[in-house]
Protein backbone atom coordinates (compact mmCIF):
# COMPACT_ATOMS: atom_id res chain seq x y z
CA UNK A 1 0.00 0.00 0.00
CA UNK A 2 1.07 3.57 -0.66
CA UNK A 3 -0.13 6.11 1.87
CA UNK A 4 0.01 9.80 2.62
CA UNK A 5 0.47 10.55 6.31
CA UNK A 6 -0.38 13.90 7.86
CA UNK A 7 1.53 13.81 11.12
CA UNK A 8 1.57 16.39 13.91
CA UNK A 9 5.14 17.56 14.46
CA UNK A 10 5.98 19.68 17.47
CA UNK A 11 9.53 20.12 18.77
CA UNK A 12 8.61 20.59 22.42
CA UNK A 13 5.83 21.76 24.72
CA UNK A 14 6.46 25.42 23.81
CA UNK A 15 6.57 24.94 20.04
CA UNK A 16 3.40 25.76 18.11
CA UNK A 17 3.55 22.62 16.01
CA UNK A 18 1.97 21.75 12.66
CA UNK A 19 0.81 18.90 10.46
CA UNK A 20 3.54 17.66 8.11
CA UNK A 21 2.90 15.45 5.06
CA UNK A 22 4.85 12.23 4.57
CA UNK A 23 4.61 9.72 1.73
CA UNK A 24 5.18 6.08 2.61
CA UNK A 25 5.21 3.18 0.15
CA UNK A 26 5.20 -0.62 0.30
CA UNK A 27 3.22 -0.78 3.53
CA UNK A 28 2.08 -4.36 4.21
CA UNK A 29 -1.56 -4.80 5.30
CA UNK A 30 -0.27 -7.18 7.97
CA UNK A 31 1.81 -4.51 9.68
CA UNK A 32 0.57 -3.01 12.89
CA UNK A 33 0.10 0.75 12.86
CA UNK A 34 3.14 1.24 15.07
CA UNK A 35 5.28 -0.97 12.80
CA UNK A 36 4.28 1.27 9.93
CA UNK A 37 5.50 4.28 11.96
CA UNK A 38 8.73 2.38 12.74
CA UNK A 39 9.34 1.98 9.01
CA UNK A 40 8.63 5.67 8.46
CA UNK A 41 11.08 6.58 11.24
CA UNK A 42 13.81 4.30 9.81
CA UNK A 43 13.51 6.23 6.57
CA UNK A 44 13.63 9.58 8.37
CA UNK A 45 16.72 8.57 10.38
CA UNK A 46 18.47 7.36 7.21
CA UNK A 47 17.86 10.76 5.64
CA UNK A 48 19.20 12.42 8.77
CA UNK A 49 15.77 13.82 9.77
CA UNK A 50 14.28 13.82 13.26
CA UNK A 51 12.12 10.67 13.74
CA UNK A 52 8.48 11.08 14.79
CA UNK A 53 8.15 10.68 18.57
CA UNK A 54 5.24 8.47 19.67
CA UNK A 55 4.42 6.53 22.84
CA UNK A 56 4.44 2.72 23.05
CA UNK A 57 5.61 -0.03 25.33
CA UNK A 58 4.06 -3.52 25.44
CA UNK A 59 2.75 -3.51 21.87
CA UNK A 60 0.17 -6.09 22.82
CA UNK A 61 -2.70 -4.00 24.14
CA UNK A 62 -2.09 -4.31 27.85
CA UNK A 63 -0.02 -1.36 29.02
CA UNK A 64 -2.07 1.57 27.70
CA UNK A 65 1.03 3.48 26.64
CA UNK A 66 0.34 3.81 22.91
CA UNK A 67 -2.02 6.63 21.97
CA UNK A 68 -2.61 8.57 18.71
CA UNK A 69 -5.72 10.15 17.21
CA UNK A 70 -5.89 8.45 13.83
CA UNK A 71 -8.21 9.79 11.14
CA UNK A 72 -10.36 11.48 13.75
CA UNK A 73 -10.65 8.58 16.21
CA UNK A 74 -8.65 7.57 19.27
CA UNK A 75 -6.64 4.42 18.43
CA UNK A 76 -7.95 4.66 14.87
CA UNK A 77 -11.02 3.29 13.13
CA UNK A 78 -11.06 -0.25 14.58
CA UNK A 79 -13.11 -1.10 17.70
CA UNK A 80 -11.86 -2.64 20.93
CA UNK A 81 -8.18 -2.22 20.04
CA UNK A 82 -5.27 -0.05 21.06
CA UNK A 83 -3.08 1.57 18.39
CA UNK A 84 -0.48 -1.20 18.78
CA UNK A 85 -3.24 -3.72 17.93
CA UNK A 86 -4.49 -1.71 14.95
CA UNK A 87 -3.52 -3.23 11.63
CA UNK A 88 -2.83 -1.53 8.33
CA UNK A 89 -5.47 -3.72 6.70
CA UNK A 90 -7.99 -1.26 8.15
CA UNK A 91 -6.76 1.20 5.49
CA UNK A 92 -6.78 1.21 1.69
CA UNK A 93 -4.04 1.87 -0.82
CA UNK A 94 -3.85 5.59 -1.55
CA UNK A 95 -5.44 6.66 1.76
CA UNK A 96 -4.49 9.86 3.51
CA UNK A 97 -4.17 9.27 7.26
CA UNK A 98 -4.24 12.05 9.85
CA UNK A 99 -2.10 11.21 12.88
CA UNK A 100 -2.50 13.63 15.80
CA UNK A 101 -1.68 13.55 19.50
CA UNK A 102 -4.46 13.03 22.09
CA UNK A 103 -5.78 16.53 22.68
CA UNK A 104 -6.77 17.84 26.10
CA UNK A 105 -5.65 20.68 28.32
CA UNK A 106 -4.90 18.05 30.97
CA UNK A 107 -2.75 16.06 28.49
CA UNK A 108 -0.16 18.59 27.28
CA UNK A 109 1.97 17.63 24.28
CA UNK A 110 5.58 16.86 25.21
CA UNK A 111 6.86 16.25 21.69
CA UNK A 112 5.22 15.35 18.36
CA UNK A 113 2.62 12.69 19.25
CA UNK A 114 3.71 12.16 22.85
CA UNK A 115 1.47 13.65 25.53
CA UNK A 116 1.84 13.82 29.29
CA UNK A 117 -0.87 11.68 30.89
CA UNK A 118 0.40 11.94 34.46
CA UNK A 119 -2.86 13.68 35.40
CA UNK A 120 -4.26 10.12 35.48
CA UNK A 121 -1.55 9.09 37.95
CA UNK A 122 -2.42 12.00 40.23
CA UNK A 123 -6.10 11.00 40.14
CA UNK A 124 -5.07 7.46 41.11
CA UNK A 125 -2.94 8.80 43.96
CA UNK A 126 -5.97 10.71 45.24
CA UNK A 127 -7.89 7.51 45.96
CA UNK A 128 -7.47 4.73 43.42
CA UNK A 129 -6.22 2.20 45.95
CA UNK A 130 -7.23 0.22 49.02
CA UNK A 131 -5.29 0.19 52.28
CA UNK A 132 -4.41 -3.37 53.28
CA UNK A 133 -2.09 -4.92 55.78
CA UNK A 134 0.95 -6.28 53.92
CA UNK A 135 2.97 -7.32 56.97
CA UNK A 136 2.89 -11.02 56.15
CA UNK A 137 -0.44 -12.07 57.62
CA UNK A 138 -2.49 -10.64 54.77
CA UNK A 139 -5.85 -12.32 54.41
CA UNK A 140 -6.30 -14.37 51.25
CA UNK A 141 -8.64 -12.28 49.05
CA UNK A 142 -10.37 -15.46 47.92
CA UNK A 143 -11.42 -16.15 51.52
CA UNK A 144 -14.01 -13.35 51.23
CA UNK A 145 -17.13 -14.59 49.45
CA UNK A 146 -18.14 -12.22 46.63
CA UNK A 147 -21.15 -12.75 44.35
CA UNK A 148 -19.95 -13.77 40.88
CA UNK A 149 -21.95 -10.98 39.28
CA UNK A 150 -20.17 -8.31 41.36
CA UNK A 151 -16.77 -9.92 40.87
CA UNK A 152 -17.29 -9.95 37.10
CA UNK A 153 -18.30 -6.31 36.95
CA UNK A 154 -15.40 -5.29 39.20
CA UNK A 155 -13.07 -7.21 36.92
CA UNK A 156 -14.54 -5.58 33.82
CA UNK A 157 -13.90 -2.16 35.36
CA UNK A 158 -10.38 -3.21 36.34
CA UNK A 159 -9.47 -3.97 32.72
CA UNK A 160 -9.08 -0.22 32.11
CA UNK A 161 -5.48 0.29 31.04
CA UNK A 162 -5.45 4.05 31.61
CA UNK A 163 -4.70 4.84 27.98
CA UNK A 164 -6.71 8.08 27.90
CA UNK A 165 -8.61 7.32 24.70
CA UNK A 166 -11.82 8.23 26.54
CA UNK A 167 -10.47 11.73 27.25
CA UNK A 168 -9.09 12.14 23.73
CA UNK A 169 -12.41 11.11 22.20
CA UNK A 170 -14.75 13.04 24.46
CA UNK A 171 -15.84 16.38 23.00
CA UNK A 172 -15.38 17.78 26.52
CA UNK A 173 -12.07 16.02 27.28
CA UNK A 174 -13.84 14.44 30.23
CA UNK A 175 -12.06 11.75 32.22
CA UNK A 176 -15.28 10.31 33.65
CA UNK A 177 -14.95 6.86 32.03
CA UNK A 178 -11.42 6.34 33.36
CA UNK A 179 -12.20 7.66 36.84
CA UNK A 180 -15.47 5.72 37.04
CA UNK A 181 -13.68 2.49 36.10
CA UNK A 182 -11.16 3.08 38.87
CA UNK A 183 -13.91 3.95 41.36
CA UNK A 184 -16.06 0.98 40.32
CA UNK A 185 -13.41 -1.72 40.52
CA UNK A 186 -13.23 -1.06 44.27
CA UNK A 187 -16.78 0.12 44.98
CA UNK A 188 -18.12 -3.27 43.93
CA UNK A 189 -15.92 -5.27 46.29
CA UNK A 190 -16.00 -5.55 50.09
CA UNK A 191 -12.32 -4.59 50.32
CA UNK A 192 -13.09 -1.31 48.58
CA UNK A 193 -16.16 -0.36 50.61
CA UNK A 194 -14.11 0.82 53.61
CA UNK A 195 -12.72 3.85 51.81
CA UNK A 196 -15.49 4.17 49.23
CA UNK A 197 -16.79 7.62 50.23
CA UNK A 198 -13.38 9.24 50.55
CA UNK A 199 -12.21 7.61 47.35
CA UNK A 200 -14.93 8.96 45.10
CA UNK A 201 -14.86 12.46 46.60
CA UNK A 202 -11.08 12.73 46.38
CA UNK A 203 -10.76 11.28 42.90
CA UNK A 204 -13.51 13.49 41.47
CA UNK A 205 -11.98 16.54 43.13
CA UNK A 206 -8.59 15.72 41.60
CA UNK A 207 -10.22 15.04 38.23
CA UNK A 208 -11.88 18.48 38.24
CA UNK A 209 -8.68 20.10 39.47
CA UNK A 210 -6.65 18.66 36.56
CA UNK A 211 -8.82 20.56 34.07
CA UNK A 212 -10.74 17.72 32.46
CA UNK A 213 -14.18 18.69 31.14
CA UNK A 214 -17.59 17.57 32.38
CA UNK A 215 -19.52 14.56 31.13
CA UNK A 216 -22.35 15.15 28.64
CA UNK A 217 -23.13 11.42 28.35
CA UNK A 218 -22.48 11.40 24.60
CA UNK A 219 -21.18 7.83 24.99
CA UNK A 220 -18.24 8.37 22.61
CA UNK A 221 -15.76 7.14 25.26
CA UNK A 222 -17.49 3.79 25.61
CA UNK A 223 -17.36 3.22 21.85
CA UNK A 224 -13.68 4.19 21.49
CA UNK A 225 -12.42 2.54 24.70
CA UNK A 226 -10.09 -0.34 23.70
CA UNK A 227 -11.28 -2.32 26.74
CA UNK A 228 -15.02 -1.78 26.31
CA UNK A 229 -15.44 -0.04 29.68
CA UNK A 230 -19.18 0.58 30.02
CA UNK A 231 -21.08 3.81 30.75
CA UNK A 232 -22.69 1.90 33.62
CA UNK A 233 -19.49 2.66 35.51
CA UNK A 234 -20.12 6.40 35.14
CA UNK A 235 -23.65 5.98 36.47
CA UNK A 236 -22.22 3.97 39.38
CA UNK A 237 -19.73 6.74 40.13
CA UNK A 238 -22.55 9.30 40.02
CA UNK A 239 -24.43 7.22 42.61
CA UNK A 240 -21.30 6.76 44.73
CA UNK A 241 -20.60 10.49 44.63
CA UNK A 242 -24.12 11.32 45.75
CA UNK A 243 -24.03 8.75 48.56
CA UNK A 244 -20.68 10.13 49.73
CA UNK A 245 -21.94 13.72 49.50
CA UNK A 246 -24.90 13.30 51.79
CA UNK A 247 -22.97 11.33 54.40
Amino acid sequence: MNLTLKIWRQKNAQDKGQLVDYKISDVSPDMSFLEMLDVLNDGLVEKGDEPVAFDHDCREGICGMCSLYINGEAHGPDRGVTTCQLHMRMFKDGDTIFIEPFRAKAFPVIKDLVVDRSAFDRIQHAGGFISVNTSGNTQDANAIPIPKHDADRAFDAATCIGCGACVATCKNSSAMLFVSAKVSQFALLPQGKVEAAERVLNMVEQMDHEGFGNCTNTGACEIECPKGISLENIARMNREYFKASIK
Partner: protein, 278 residues
Protein backbone atom coordinates in the same frame (compact mmCIF):
# COMPACT_ATOMS: atom_id res chain seq x y z
CA UNK B 1 -11.09 14.10 52.94
CA UNK B 2 -12.36 16.21 50.10
CA UNK B 3 -15.53 18.10 50.80
CA UNK B 4 -18.44 17.12 48.63
CA UNK B 5 -19.37 19.84 46.20
CA UNK B 6 -22.97 19.36 45.19
CA UNK B 7 -22.99 22.74 43.43
CA UNK B 8 -19.44 23.17 42.21
CA UNK B 9 -18.10 19.76 41.22
CA UNK B 10 -18.56 18.47 37.70
CA UNK B 11 -20.83 15.67 38.92
CA UNK B 12 -22.81 18.01 41.19
CA UNK B 13 -23.48 20.37 38.28
CA UNK B 14 -24.78 17.44 36.27
CA UNK B 15 -27.20 16.42 39.04
CA UNK B 16 -28.72 19.90 38.79
CA UNK B 17 -28.85 19.77 35.00
CA UNK B 18 -30.67 16.46 35.22
CA UNK B 19 -33.10 17.48 37.98
CA UNK B 20 -34.02 20.79 36.38
CA UNK B 21 -34.19 19.14 32.93
CA UNK B 22 -36.54 16.41 34.14
CA UNK B 23 -38.67 18.94 36.02
CA UNK B 24 -38.96 20.90 32.77
CA UNK B 25 -40.09 17.68 31.05
CA UNK B 26 -42.93 17.46 33.59
CA UNK B 27 -43.71 21.12 32.96
CA UNK B 28 -43.93 20.36 29.23
CA UNK B 29 -46.57 17.70 29.89
CA UNK B 30 -48.69 20.12 31.94
CA UNK B 31 -48.30 22.91 29.42
CA UNK B 32 -49.20 20.57 26.56
CA UNK B 33 -52.34 19.34 28.31
CA UNK B 34 -53.52 22.95 28.52
CA UNK B 35 -52.57 23.81 24.95
CA UNK B 36 -54.41 20.81 23.56
CA UNK B 37 -57.65 22.47 24.67
CA UNK B 38 -57.09 24.81 21.73
CA UNK B 39 -57.78 21.76 19.59
CA UNK B 40 -60.22 19.76 21.65
CA UNK B 41 -61.88 22.20 24.05
CA UNK B 42 -64.24 25.16 23.70
CA UNK B 43 -63.08 28.75 23.77
CA UNK B 44 -64.51 29.03 27.27
CA UNK B 45 -62.60 25.97 28.51
CA UNK B 46 -59.31 27.30 27.17
CA UNK B 47 -59.83 30.75 28.71
CA UNK B 48 -60.89 29.18 32.00
CA UNK B 49 -57.65 27.20 31.94
CA UNK B 50 -55.61 30.35 31.16
CA UNK B 51 -57.22 32.19 34.09
CA UNK B 52 -56.57 29.25 36.38
CA UNK B 53 -52.93 29.14 35.32
CA UNK B 54 -52.39 32.85 36.07
CA UNK B 55 -54.26 33.05 39.37
CA UNK B 56 -54.27 29.74 41.24
CA UNK B 57 -51.81 29.92 44.19
CA UNK B 58 -50.54 26.34 43.77
CA UNK B 59 -49.93 26.92 40.08
CA UNK B 60 -48.15 30.17 41.00
CA UNK B 61 -45.66 28.30 43.17
CA UNK B 62 -45.11 25.71 40.43
CA UNK B 63 -44.61 28.45 37.86
CA UNK B 64 -41.90 30.08 39.99
CA UNK B 65 -40.16 26.70 40.28
CA UNK B 66 -40.39 26.51 36.49
CA UNK B 67 -38.87 29.98 35.94
CA UNK B 68 -36.05 29.17 38.36
CA UNK B 69 -35.48 25.78 36.72
CA UNK B 70 -35.19 27.31 33.26
CA UNK B 71 -32.77 29.97 34.50
CA UNK B 72 -30.71 27.52 36.53
CA UNK B 73 -30.67 24.93 33.74
CA UNK B 74 -29.62 27.52 31.15
CA UNK B 75 -26.92 29.14 33.33
CA UNK B 76 -25.56 25.79 34.54
CA UNK B 77 -25.63 24.43 30.97
CA UNK B 78 -23.73 27.41 29.61
CA UNK B 79 -21.16 27.25 32.46
CA UNK B 80 -20.61 23.54 31.77
CA UNK B 81 -20.22 24.20 28.06
CA UNK B 82 -17.65 26.96 28.65
CA UNK B 83 -15.65 24.67 30.97
CA UNK B 84 -15.87 21.88 28.42
CA UNK B 85 -14.57 24.11 25.63
CA UNK B 86 -11.66 25.22 27.83
CA UNK B 87 -10.73 21.58 28.49
CA UNK B 88 -9.48 21.28 24.88
CA UNK B 89 -7.75 24.52 23.85
CA UNK B 90 -6.32 22.98 20.66
CA UNK B 91 -8.75 20.91 18.63
CA UNK B 92 -8.19 18.13 16.14
CA UNK B 93 -7.45 18.79 12.47
CA UNK B 94 -9.59 15.77 11.69
CA UNK B 95 -12.30 14.57 14.06
CA UNK B 96 -14.69 11.79 13.11
CA UNK B 97 -17.15 12.40 15.96
CA UNK B 98 -20.04 10.93 13.99
CA UNK B 99 -18.41 7.52 14.34
CA UNK B 100 -18.99 7.36 18.07
CA UNK B 101 -21.72 9.76 19.20
CA UNK B 102 -25.08 11.20 18.18
CA UNK B 103 -25.31 14.69 16.73
CA UNK B 104 -27.81 15.88 19.33
CA UNK B 105 -25.56 14.80 22.20
CA UNK B 106 -22.74 16.93 20.80
CA UNK B 107 -24.90 20.01 20.29
CA UNK B 108 -26.92 20.33 23.49
CA UNK B 109 -25.72 23.89 24.13
CA UNK B 110 -26.69 25.10 20.64
CA UNK B 111 -30.06 23.37 20.90
CA UNK B 112 -30.58 24.72 24.42
CA UNK B 113 -29.75 28.28 23.35
CA UNK B 114 -32.27 28.04 20.51
CA UNK B 115 -34.86 26.82 23.03
CA UNK B 116 -34.00 29.77 25.27
CA UNK B 117 -34.59 32.18 22.38
CA UNK B 118 -37.90 30.49 21.68
CA UNK B 119 -38.95 30.70 25.35
CA UNK B 120 -38.12 34.44 25.37
CA UNK B 121 -40.19 35.19 22.27
CA UNK B 122 -42.96 32.89 23.49
CA UNK B 123 -43.18 34.76 26.78
CA UNK B 124 -43.29 38.13 25.03
CA UNK B 125 -46.04 36.93 22.69
CA UNK B 126 -48.32 35.17 25.18
CA UNK B 127 -47.16 35.21 28.78
CA UNK B 128 -46.51 38.96 29.00
CA UNK B 129 -49.78 39.77 27.23
CA UNK B 130 -51.69 37.61 29.65
CA UNK B 131 -49.94 39.07 32.70
CA UNK B 132 -49.36 42.72 31.92
CA UNK B 133 -51.64 44.04 29.19
CA UNK B 134 -55.34 44.79 29.04
CA UNK B 135 -56.63 41.97 26.94
CA UNK B 136 -59.93 41.69 25.09
CA UNK B 137 -62.41 39.76 27.18
CA UNK B 138 -64.37 36.78 25.98
CA UNK B 139 -67.84 38.02 25.06
CA UNK B 140 -71.07 36.18 24.31
CA UNK B 141 -74.13 37.52 22.65
CA UNK B 142 -77.32 36.02 23.97
CA UNK B 143 -80.49 36.13 21.96
CA UNK B 144 -83.17 35.30 24.49
CA UNK B 145 -85.99 36.20 22.12
CA UNK B 146 -85.70 36.72 18.39
CA UNK B 147 -84.30 40.18 17.78
CA UNK B 148 -83.52 40.95 21.44
CA UNK B 149 -79.77 40.44 21.98
CA UNK B 150 -77.52 41.38 24.84
CA UNK B 151 -73.71 41.09 25.29
CA UNK B 152 -72.22 39.44 28.34
CA UNK B 153 -68.66 38.86 29.43
CA UNK B 154 -68.10 35.36 30.68
CA UNK B 155 -66.41 35.14 34.02
CA UNK B 156 -65.10 32.60 36.43
CA UNK B 157 -68.26 32.85 38.47
CA UNK B 158 -67.43 35.04 41.46
CA UNK B 159 -69.41 38.17 42.29
CA UNK B 160 -72.60 39.40 40.70
CA UNK B 161 -73.73 36.51 38.61
CA UNK B 162 -76.54 36.49 36.15
CA UNK B 163 -78.20 33.30 35.11
CA UNK B 164 -79.42 32.82 31.60
CA UNK B 165 -81.90 30.00 31.62
CA UNK B 166 -81.77 27.64 28.73
CA UNK B 167 -85.09 26.05 27.85
CA UNK B 168 -84.04 23.62 25.25
CA UNK B 169 -80.97 22.99 23.20
CA UNK B 170 -82.62 23.79 19.87
CA UNK B 171 -84.88 26.57 21.04
CA UNK B 172 -82.20 28.62 22.77
CA UNK B 173 -79.76 30.34 20.50
CA UNK B 174 -76.54 31.43 22.18
CA UNK B 175 -74.10 33.04 19.85
CA UNK B 176 -70.46 32.97 20.88
CA UNK B 177 -68.08 34.87 18.66
CA UNK B 178 -70.19 34.26 15.64
CA UNK B 179 -70.37 30.51 16.22
CA UNK B 180 -73.31 28.66 17.70
CA UNK B 181 -72.93 27.19 21.14
CA UNK B 182 -75.60 25.25 22.97
CA UNK B 183 -75.68 24.97 26.71
CA UNK B 184 -77.97 22.56 28.43
CA UNK B 185 -77.42 24.14 31.82
CA UNK B 186 -78.18 27.69 32.98
CA UNK B 187 -75.23 29.85 32.02
CA UNK B 188 -73.56 31.92 34.71
CA UNK B 189 -72.34 35.25 33.38
CA UNK B 190 -71.07 38.47 34.86
CA UNK B 191 -70.96 41.95 33.47
CA UNK B 192 -67.65 43.43 34.58
CA UNK B 193 -64.36 41.58 34.55
CA UNK B 194 -64.57 38.65 32.23
CA UNK B 195 -62.19 35.97 30.98
CA UNK B 196 -59.14 37.35 29.25
CA UNK B 197 -59.55 36.03 25.75
CA UNK B 198 -56.19 34.28 25.26
CA UNK B 199 -57.96 31.91 22.90
CA UNK B 200 -58.67 34.66 20.37
CA UNK B 201 -55.19 36.19 20.86
CA UNK B 202 -53.63 32.81 20.06
CA UNK B 203 -55.77 32.14 17.01
CA UNK B 204 -55.17 35.65 15.65
CA UNK B 205 -51.44 35.31 16.32
CA UNK B 206 -51.06 32.24 14.12
CA UNK B 207 -53.59 33.45 11.54
CA UNK B 208 -52.04 36.91 11.24
CA UNK B 209 -52.20 37.71 7.49
CA UNK B 210 -48.67 39.07 7.41
CA UNK B 211 -46.73 37.14 10.06
CA UNK B 212 -48.90 34.12 10.87
CA UNK B 213 -47.01 31.76 8.58
CA UNK B 214 -43.61 32.93 9.84
CA UNK B 215 -44.75 32.54 13.48
CA UNK B 216 -46.04 29.05 12.70
CA UNK B 217 -42.80 28.01 11.01
CA UNK B 218 -40.70 29.41 13.87
CA UNK B 219 -42.85 27.56 16.40
CA UNK B 220 -42.61 24.26 14.53
CA UNK B 221 -38.86 24.71 14.05
CA UNK B 222 -38.42 25.36 17.77
CA UNK B 223 -40.34 22.20 18.59
CA UNK B 224 -38.00 20.23 16.31
CA UNK B 225 -35.09 21.75 18.22
CA UNK B 226 -36.73 20.71 21.50
CA UNK B 227 -37.20 17.19 20.14
CA UNK B 228 -33.47 16.86 19.43
CA UNK B 229 -32.61 18.35 22.86
CA UNK B 230 -34.82 15.75 24.52
CA UNK B 231 -33.73 12.90 22.26
CA UNK B 232 -30.41 13.09 24.06
CA UNK B 233 -31.45 14.93 27.23
CA UNK B 234 -34.20 12.71 28.58
CA UNK B 235 -32.06 9.58 28.81
CA UNK B 236 -28.93 11.52 29.66
CA UNK B 237 -30.63 12.84 32.80
CA UNK B 238 -31.14 9.31 34.11
CA UNK B 239 -27.48 8.51 33.48
CA UNK B 240 -26.45 11.70 35.30
CA UNK B 241 -28.55 10.71 38.29
CA UNK B 242 -26.86 7.32 38.34
CA UNK B 243 -29.81 5.34 37.01
CA UNK B 244 -28.21 2.99 34.51
CA UNK B 245 -29.15 -0.59 34.98
CA UNK B 246 -29.33 -3.38 32.39
CA UNK B 247 -32.82 -4.26 33.61
CA UNK B 248 -34.57 -0.87 33.41
CA UNK B 249 -32.42 1.28 31.13
CA UNK B 250 -33.66 -0.25 27.85
CA UNK B 251 -37.25 0.58 28.86
CA UNK B 252 -36.31 4.12 29.97
CA UNK B 253 -34.53 4.61 26.64
CA UNK B 254 -37.58 3.60 24.61
CA UNK B 255 -39.83 5.80 26.75
CA UNK B 256 -37.38 8.71 26.44
CA UNK B 257 -37.25 8.50 22.65
CA UNK B 258 -41.05 8.33 22.51
CA UNK B 259 -41.39 11.31 24.87
CA UNK B 260 -38.83 13.32 22.89
CA UNK B 261 -40.76 12.84 19.65
CA UNK B 262 -44.41 12.80 20.75
CA UNK B 263 -44.46 15.80 23.11
CA UNK B 264 -42.89 18.33 20.70
CA UNK B 265 -44.96 16.86 17.86
CA UNK B 266 -48.23 17.47 19.71
CA UNK B 267 -47.11 21.01 20.59
CA UNK B 268 -46.30 21.64 16.91
CA UNK B 269 -49.61 20.31 15.58
CA UNK B 270 -51.54 23.07 17.37
CA UNK B 271 -50.20 26.12 15.48
CA UNK B 272 -50.18 24.10 12.25
CA UNK B 273 -53.86 23.28 12.73
CA UNK B 274 -54.75 26.85 13.64
CA UNK B 275 -52.85 28.35 10.73
CA UNK B 276 -54.03 26.00 8.03
CA UNK B 277 -57.44 24.75 9.15
CA UNK B 278 -59.08 27.29 11.46
Amino acid sequence: MAKSALLKSSIGKKYWMALTGLFLCLFLVGHLAGNLQLLFGTQLQFNEYALFMTTNPAVKILSYVTYISILFHAIDGILLTIQNKKARPIGYAKNNAGANSAWASRNMAVLGTLILIFIATHMVNFWAKMHFTTMPLQKITVEAQPGATQDFYLTSGWGQDKFIPVQSVDGENIVLDGRDFYYTKPLKVKFAEGYKDLHTITIEFFKDPKWGLAFTIFYVFSMAVLAFHLLHGFNSAFQSLGANNPKYTPAIKVFGKGFAIIVPLLFAIIPLYIHFFK
